[in-house]
Amino acid sequence: MPTTTYTPLANITLTGSSSTVTFSSITAGYRDLIIAISLNPNGNGNYPSMRFNGSSSTSYSSVSMYGTGSVTGSASYTQNRIYMPLEVGTTSGNITTIITQIMDFSASDKHKSVLTRSNPSTNGVEAVASRWANTSAITSISLFDANGTNFASGTSFALYGIAA
């Protein structure tokens, strides 16, 4: 019997604007987590970001490579959040797909590795590798807009578990 994958754990589609979406009490019964986000731009430019277990300490580092459609680049960050995508477009309806993979999320003996692919098709394409310098098992994930604005209605967040 093949191992079940992409087990749905939680999901929400916003019916109004919201500043933060939180997945809490995440079961430890999986090896990895995947979050699939369909982001509907809010008109102001979004900087989706992520924190684990409510931690806002400067314990997150990220390296990104990106293409804007004409320019390529790479950047690194050490800050109080997981860096996710390039600034997305501002036109409502131009949906951006963001896929984030969190490996060994429930392990208590290692820092946590995160891979993110972001696809704001009207702005560019980006891949990000991140690390949370904390050995705690991840039991909650908060997603918010570091631009200080809200996620727009129609934005959806789906959490999946990947079994070992």
């Binding site: 754990l9 949906i95 704001p120 560019g124």
Partner: protein
Amino acid sequence: MTLVSTVTVGAGGATSIAFTGIPQTGTDLLIRISSRNSGGVNAALISFNSSTTGFSARRLFGSGSTVSSNTYTDNRGFYTSFSTDTAGTFGNCEIYIPNYSGSTNKSYSSDSVSENNAAAAYQALIAGLWSNTAAITSISLYPTSGNFDQYSTASLYTITKGSGGATVS
């Protein structure tokens, strides 16, 4: 994740690989492709519901020696190995399409690599958008040059979201 269909190209090759009658019971689609084409170009296209209009894409592309980024107004889908690559090598790709059965414009994420026993091999990351709110009921994959070679395969999966379990503030 549920397998919908796997298509394997037979002897003589194929002009395209198509998935039709896609069940609307899932949330997202995942396509995994192993492909090689008989033409001289490694780019391949994707169409939804037989439509090739309303597409736009941005690409980040590496060749092993150079990197570039480009903007497209076509239905750029993925990259394959092609006729001048080492015989027997096939490119690999994964395309993720969230909310395929919903009523919003359709975004897709595509990661491709081509294989070649030489210095030139390619990796492409694509951010695509189909500005059409129709649910996706069929998908066609086709190279921009030549045909898919025998043994090229593509598998389509549906992924179904859960419900609840998230709080907003």
